[in-house]
C-alpha cells in the first residue's frame, strides 16, 4: 500500500494500538536498550526487530552549519524520518527541530526541479524550462567568451557563495577557471570573531567544555537555539548546568532562550561586551586572581604590563557604557575567576559591531588570564580533522581580486563581502559572469536592496547563474538556474570541530535526487568539460572523477586510520569516522569498552613535540598556532596597520559622544538588532511548514517600559526608521529586552515560497511542483518583514564583520497610511553609508582619530595581493 500520510497514520495505529499489542519485552536481549533509547546500530536494520524500513542511510545535516550526523529512514522510496546518528561523537544520536524537519527540504512544494532560463527582464519572475544540455552550453559559452579574451580576464568570473560545504569543489572550479574572485559570506557572520582569535592563538574558534565546567560567561551567544555548535553544545550544556551544577551567566540585549535559561542575565547595551570583559579582566588582575604562571609561560605579554594596560577599564567606566552595575561587574568577575574550571563562550554578539575584533579579543582575555585554557571544563582548542583533494589539483589563480582581498582591509582574511555590491558599482572590478552558490545575498545581507539593484543591472552583472533549488530573492534575479540536489541527495565531505573529538563524515544520496536536479560537483564537472572538451585548455584534467561518490573516495580512501577500516566504504556505512565508542542509552554519552564516558585529551599545547615551538626545561612543546607557539595577547599584525595590538574598547561613534554620554535622544531612539530562532535560519527554512508552523512572524521585540513611554501596546503597528529607510511591522512588547534595543528576527519576510508567504492558494511555480496536500491546511497568518534592507553596511576595519547590531533607529506608532509589511530603502543613502564605513578602514580618515593611543609612524600602503 502506498504510504501517504493518511495511510501511514492508519497503518501505524492498526499494527500498534488498535490491536492492543502488549510490549514484546521478552524478545529483546537487552532490556536496558529498550528502557532508554538504545537504538543500537540503526544502520543494520535487521538488528531492530520488526523493522519496517527499506533502508537506513547515514548522512550529515545541512539545515544550518552545525553539521550533525544523521540517519535517514526510507520507506517506499520516501524519506520518512530523520534521527541523529548514534555513532557520531558530537551528535550522539539527537537532532534539533530543524534537523528533524530536514526531509522537507527534499519535498518542499516550491522546490526547483529543472534547469531554468530567464525569459523576461531580471526579477520579473518569467522563466522557461530548459534542458541541462542547453543550460550548460550557455554557461560554458559565457565562460569561454571571457577566457578567450586572453590572459588577465579570468577574474571577471566571480562566485558568491554562502553555505559552501562542497569540501573544495567550488574552490577547485574557480582555480580551474583561473579566477580569484571568490566572495564568501563570512563577514556577514563571525569574520571578526575569527580575526580576533586567529592572531591570538591560531584557530578561529574555541571549544568550551560545557559538560565539565563550573562557570560560563556567555557573551552574546544564543547557543541553546543557534550558534556553533548548537546541538552538540546544548547537550553538553544541559549536562553541565544540571548534572555538574555549573552557573550560566549571559550577556545579551534580548532574552533569547539561552538568556532565559541562564542563572543570571545581563542585558548590556549593544557593543559593550568588550568593555564589560575588559573591566572584569581588570578586576581579576587587581584582585590577584589571575594565573601568573600561565600568563608568563604561555603568552607573549607579561602579567604586570597587562595589569597596567587594563587599569583604564574600571567597572565604573564599564557601567556607564553597558548599564551593568559596577558592583555586579566586580562580583561576576570574582565568581568567574574563582570558579574552577570556568569558560567563556561567544558567538556572535561581540563580533557583529564596528571593532568587533576588539570585543572578541577582550572576551578571550578572561579564560587566558585565569588559566582556563585547554583544561578540563575550560576554554579548549578546536579538534578538527581534514581530508584530501583529488589529484591533480589545479594551481591557485594568478591575479589578485579586489572584491576578494580588498587592499583597505588587509587583516580581514575572511573577506568583507557586505561591501562587494558597492565595489562592483564603483567599478573596482569588471564582472562578466556571476555564480551564486548557497547564498541569498539579496535577502540575507545588510543593504539587501543594494544587492538587488546591482544584481538586476545587466551592465554590472552581464550574466548570472545560480545553483539554488529554492526560488528566492536572489534566485529571482539570476539568468540561469542549475538546481542543486538537496543535502539529503548529494555527496559532500564533512568535518567540524563540534566537540572535543575530531571526526570526518559525509553527505551521500539517501534517495536519488528528485526531478532533474543534479548535485553541485557533478554540475561543475559538466561545465568544465563543456568549456574544455578536448583538454586543450588544461582544465579538464582536474575534473576527471566519475561522479560524486568517486570524488569522495579520492578524498577519504587515503586517510591514515580510515584507510585501514575501509576508507570511503566505512563512511558510507557509518556516516562518520572515527567511532569513539558506543552510545550508552542510560547516560546519553559515548562509552568506552569499560562502559565509562570517553574522556578527551586536554592540554594539547603542553604535549611534547620535537618540532614544538615552545621550549622549556630542555623540552619542546607543541604550543599554540602562532609564530612562537605562545598566545599573543599583544598582536603585532594589528599594530602594523595602526590598530591597537592589545584588547581595547572603542565606543561606537553612532552611539556615544566623546565624553561618554549617549547620543540616543529620547525613548524613541534605540539600537536595532537581529537574531535567529531555534527553528528558523537566515533564509532557507521559511518554506519548511513544520518550522514555520512554530515561528511564522517576526514582530519587533520592544521593552515594555519603553513601549509604554511611546504609547505602543503589544501587537500595535509600528514604524521603525533607520538612516537608510523604514519598515512597518508589529510590536511584541516584552520584559525580555534592553529598553534601548529593538530586535527583529532576520529570518522571515521572504516574498517567495507558498509556505513562507502563507499564499497557500497560489499556483505552484512552473519550475517543479512536488504535491503537498497539506498546503491548504496552513492555519497560520504569516507576518514576516525582513529588516535587512533598512540596515546599512558597516565593516569592522580589522576583521571585516558587518556591524549588524549597531543601527540606530527611531521607533514610533505607525503613521496614517502605513500598512504592515511596508518597507522602503534608499539605495543612495546605502551608498553614503558604504562610503562612511570605509572611513574607518586603516586607510580611511577616521582611523587615526579612533586610535590616538597607537603610535605608528607610517602605515603600509594598501596593496592588492592574493589572500590565504
Amino acid at each position: 500500500m502506498d504510504l501517504t500520510r493518511r495511510n501511514f497514520v492508519k497503518l501505524g495505529l492498526a499494527t500498534g494500538a488498535a490491536l492492543a499489542i502488549e510490549s514484546k519485552l521478552a524478545s529483546f536481549a537487552n532490556a536496558a536498550d529498550l528502557e532508554l533509547g538504545g537504538r543500537g546500530s540503526a544502520v543494520n536494520p535487521d538488528r531492530i526487530t520488526g523493522s519496517k524500513w527499506d533502508k537506513v542511510v547515514p548522512y550529515t545535516c545541512l539545515v544550518c552549519n552545525i553539521e550533525d550526523g544523521g540517519l535517514a529512514f526510507v520507506k517506499n522510496g520516501r524519506i520518512k524520518k530523520l534521527e541523529g546518528n548514534d555513532k557520531h561523537v558530537s551528535t550522539r544520536g539527537r537532532l534539533c527541530a530543524k534537523g528533524n524537519a530536514g526531509m522537507w527540504h527534499v519535498y518542499d512544494p516550491d522546490r526547483i526541479l529543472y534547469p531554468l532560463r530567464r525569459v523576461g527582464p531580471r526579477g520579473s519572475g518569467k522563466w522557461k524550462r530548459v534542458s541541462w544540455d542547453e543550460a550548460i552550453a550557455e554557461v560554458a559559452g559565457k565562460i569561454k567568451e571571457v577566457l578567450d579574451r586572453g590572459e588577465g580576464h579570468q577574474n571577471e568570473i566571480m562566485i558568491k557563495w554562502g553555505r559552501n560545504r562542497s569540501g573544495g569543489a567550488a574552490e577547485r572550479f574557480m582555480a580551474t577557471l583561473g579566477s580569484n574572485t571568490i566572495v564568501n559570506h563570512t563577514s556577514i557572520c563571525e569574520a571578526s570573531k575569527k580575526i580576533g582569535m586567529q592572531p591570538t592563538w591560531g584557530p578561529d574558534i574555541e571549544t568550551p567544555d560545557f559538560a565539565n565546567t563550573k562557570y560560563i560567561l556567555n557573551f552574546g551567544s544564543n547557543i541553546l537555539e543557534a550558534a556553533y555548535f548548537m546541538n552538540p553544545y546544548s547537550q553538553r550544556l544541559a549536562e553541565g548546568l544540571v548534572d555538574n551544577k555549573a552557573k550560566l551567566v549571559t550577556f545579551d540585549v534580548r532574552l533569547s532562550n539561552t538568556a532565559g535559561r541562564s542563572d543570571e542575565w545581563f542585558p548590556i547595551f549593544p557593543g559593550t561586551d568588550g568593555i564589560v570583559a575588559l573591566a572584569m579582566a581588570n578586576v581579576i588582575m587587581q584582585e590577584g586572581l589571575y594565573d601568573r604562571e600561565f600568563l608568563d609561560t604561555w603568552t607573549n605579554y607579561p602579567a604586570d604590563k597587562l595589569k597596567e594596560h587594563l587599569k583604564q577599564y574600571t567597572p565604573e567606566m564599564a557601567e556607564r557604557y553597558s548599564g551593568m552595575s559596577a558592583k555586579d561587574i566586580r562580583r561576576i568577575a570574582v565568581e568567574f575567576a574563582t570558579a574552577k574550571p570556568a569558560t567563556t563562550y561567544t558567538y556572535r554578539g561581540p563580533a557583529k559591531h564596528l571593532y568587533g575584533s576588539y570585543n572578541e579579543r577582550a572576551t578571550m582575555l578572561l579564560p587566558i588570564i585565569t588559566g582556563n585554557i585547554e583544561v578540563r571544563g575550560g576554554y579548549c582548542l578546536p579538534r578538527g580533522m581534514g581530508y584530501n583533494q583529488p589529484q591533480p589539483k589545479p594551481p591557485g589563480a594568478k591575479e589578485p581580486s579586489y572584491l576578494s582581498t580588498p587592499p583597505d582591509y588587509p587583516l580581514a582574511e575572511h573577506k568583507v563581502s557586505q561591501l562587494v555590491p558597492f565595489w562592483i558599482k564603483e567599478g573596482k572590478q569588471k564582472i562578466s559572469v556571476y555564480f551564486n552558490y548557497m547564498s541569498c545575498e539579496a535577502f540575507t545581507n545588510p543593504a539587501a536592496s543594494y544587492w538587488q539593484e546591482v544584481l538586476s543591472d545587466e551592465k554590472l552583472i552581464p550574466f548570472s547563474v545560480t545553483f539554488s533549488n529554492q526560488m528566492n530573492e536572489t534566485t529571482n534575479l539570476m539568468d540561469i538556474v542549475l538546481p542543486d540536489a538537496s543535502f539529503l541527495e548529494r555527496h559532500d565531505p564533512e568535518s567540524m570541530p563540534s566537540s572535543l573529538w575530531p571526526w570526518v563524515g559525509i553527505r551521500q544520496p539517501v534517495i536519488k535526487p528528485l526531478g532533474e536536479s543534479i548535485e553541485f560537483r557533478e554540475v561543475l564537472k559538466m561545465i568544465v568539460q563543456k568549456v574544455d572538451p578536448d583538454g586543450s585548455r588544461g582544465m579538464r584534467k582536474y575534473w576527471e572523477f566519475k561522479d560524486g561518490e568517486d570524488y569522495l573516495r579520492q578524498q577519504f580512501d587515503g586517510i591514515a586510520g580510515l584507510k585501514e577500516v575501509g576508507g570511503y566504504d566505512f563512511l558510507k556505512e557509518n556516516g562518520v569516522w572515527p567511532i569513539y565508542g558506543k552510545l550508552d542509552p542510560a547516560t546519553g554519552k559515548i562509552a568506552d569498552k569499560n562502559g565509562l564516558p570517553i574522556e578527551p585529551e586536554y592540554g594539547l599545547h603542553r604535549k611534547e613535540d620535537p618540532n614544538g615551538k615552545v621550549k622549556m626545561n630542555g623540552k619542546s612543546y607543541k604550543g599554540f598556532g602562532t609564530s612562537d607557539g605562545k598566545i599573543h595577547i599583544y598582536v603585532d599584525e594589528y599594530e602594523k596597520y595602526g590598530f591597537n595590538p592589545l584588547p581595547v574598547f572603542k565606543p561606537h561613534p553612532w552611539h556615544w559622544n566623546e565624553d561618554g554620554t549617549s547620543k540616543l535622544k529620547g525613548p524613541e531612539e534605540m539600537v536595532m538588532t537581529t537574531f535567529k530562532w531555534n527553528v528558523q535560519t537566515q533564509s532557507r527554512t521559511q518554506n519548511i511548514k513544520l518550522l514555520s508552523e512554530i515561528v511564522h512572524s517576526n514582530h519587533a521585540w520592544m521593552n515594555a517600559a519603553t513601549a509604554g513611554k511611546l504609547g505602543i501596546k503589544n501587537n500595535d503597528l509600528i514604524r521603525i526608521t533607520s538612516p537608510v529607510g523604514y519598515m512597518v511591522t508589529k510590536a511584541r512588547v516584552t520584559q525580555g529586552i534592553n529598553p534601548r534595543v529593538i530586535a527583529v528576527s532576520n529570518t522571515l519576510g521572504s516574498k517567495f515560497g507558498r509556505v513562507a508567504t502563507g499564499r497557500k492558494d497560489a499556483a505552484p511555480g512552473m519550475w517543479g511542483d512536488i504535491p503537498d496536500p497539506e498546503l491548504k491546511d496552513l492555519w497560520w497568518t504569516t507576518e514576516g518583514v525582513n529588516p535587512n534592507v533598512i540596515i546599512p553596511v558597516s565593516a569592522d576595519p580589522i576583521g571585516g564583520s558587518q556591524g549588524w547590531y549597531d543601527t540606530v533607529v527611531k521607533v514610533e506608532k505607525a503613521k496614517a497610511g502605513d500598512k504592515f509589511g511596508d518597507v522602503k530603502a534608499d539605495n543612495a543613502r546605502h551608498f553614503e553609508f558604504y562610503k562612511q564605513t570605509m572611513d574607518y578602514a586603516y586607510t580611511g580618515k577616521m582611523h587615526r582619530k579612533m586610535h590616538p593611543e597607537v603610535k605608528v609612524e607610517k602605515l603600509p600602503e594598501p596593496e592588492l595581493k592574493k589572500g590565504h
Binding site: 497514520v9 501505524g12 528533524n100 530562532w677 514582530h699 511584541r732
Partner: protein
C-alpha cells in the same frame, strides 16, 4: 509487564522543539494539531526575567477522563493498556457512522484538561499521544525521548525501581501537570517545573503567567487550532 512512564526534567529542557517536530514526523501528525509540544512562559519584570519551557504531553492517567468520556459517549475506544499507555482502539470505531465517531471523539477532546486529545483533520478520528507504542514494540523509546537534546525526557519502566526513570522519580521532587486527584500522576512526572505551571496551572487563566496578555509567536503553540478558542477545564474530582 512493564509500566511505562516518562520523566521530564525541565531543568534540562532548552525549549528547542525537537520533540515537537520528531513526534510529528514519527506519527504523521498533521498541521494544526500536536501530540506533544513545548510552551514558553516568561516570568518577571525587566531585567529580572526568566523563560520557562514546559513540554506538554498526555499524562497517560490512571482513570483517565478521556477514557471515561469515551465510555460514556460512545463505544469506549479509549483505554489504558496493561503496560500503562492510554491508547485508542480504532477497531472499535470501525463500522460507526461519522456522527457517532464525532460524538465520542469530541467528548474525549473536551474531557482532557491538558488538551492532549484532538481530532485528526485528515482522518477525522480522535488521536493522542501513544508513547509511540509502535516504537516500544521494536525496542525503541518514543520519538520525543530519542531526539531530546537536553535529555530532559527520560522514558522507562516504572515497575523497575532501578530504571533511570524510576530513579529520577525516587530522588527528586516531582509534579504532574494533571493533579493526582484528577487521575494524573501516572505516566508523566516533571522535575524542576515552576509551581505555577503544574496541577494544570499552566492551563488555567490563560497560557501566560505574565499578567500581560501576550499573543506572540514564541508561544504560538497556544494559538494553534488545537488550542484556540478552548477554555481549559478542570475535570470533576475522582476521589
Amino acid at each position: 509487564m512493564p509500566r511505562w512512564g516518562m520523566v521530564i526534567d525541565a531543568r534540562k529542557c532548552i525549549g528547542c522543539q525537537a520533540c515537537t517536530i520528531a513526534c510529528k514526523t514519527e506519527n504523521d501528525v498533521p498541521l494544526g494539531v500536536w501530540r506533544t509540544h513545548v510552551r514558553f512562559y516568561e516570568k518577571g519584570t525587566y531585567p529580572l526575567v526568566r523563560r520557562h519551557f514546559l513540554s506538554v504531553i498526555c499524562d497517560h492517567c490512571d482513570e483517565a477522563p478521556c477514557v471515561d468520556a469515551s465510555e460514556n459517549n460512545g463505544v469506549g475506544s479509549f483505554y489504558k493498556s496493561k503496560d500503562g499507555v492510554v491508547l485508542i482502539d480504532y477497531n472499535k470505531l470501525k463500522g460507526r457512522t461519522p456522527a457517532q465517531i464525532k460524538t465520542e471523539a469530541e467528548a474525549a477532546v473536551e474531557a482532557c484538561p491538558l488538551e492532549a486529545v484532538f481530532i485528526n483533520p485528515m482522518t477525522n478520528l480522535p488521536e493522542k499521544c501513544t508513547f509511540c507504542h509502535h516504537r516500544l514494540d521494536e525496542g525503541l523509546v518514543p520519538a520525543c525521548v530519542q531526539t531530546c537534546i537536553g535529555r530532559s525526557r527520560v522514558f522507562g519502566d516504572l515497575e523497575d525501581p532501578n530504571s533511570p526513570a524510576s530513579r529520577l522519580i525516587a530522588m527528586n521532587a516531582t509534579k504532574t501537570l494533571m493533579p493526582e486527584d484528577d487521575g494524573g500522576g501516572a505516566g508523566v512526572h516533571y522535575i524542576g517545573v515552576d509551581a505555577g505551571l503544574t496541577d494544570h496551572g499552566a492551563l488555567e487563566g490563560g497560557r501566560q503567567t505574565d499578567p500581560q496578555d501576550f499573543d506572540n509567536e514564541i508561544i504560538s503553540m497556544s494559538t494553534g487550532p488545537q488550542f484556540t478558542g478552548r477554555k481549559p477545564k478542570k475535570p470533576a474530582h475522582k476521589k
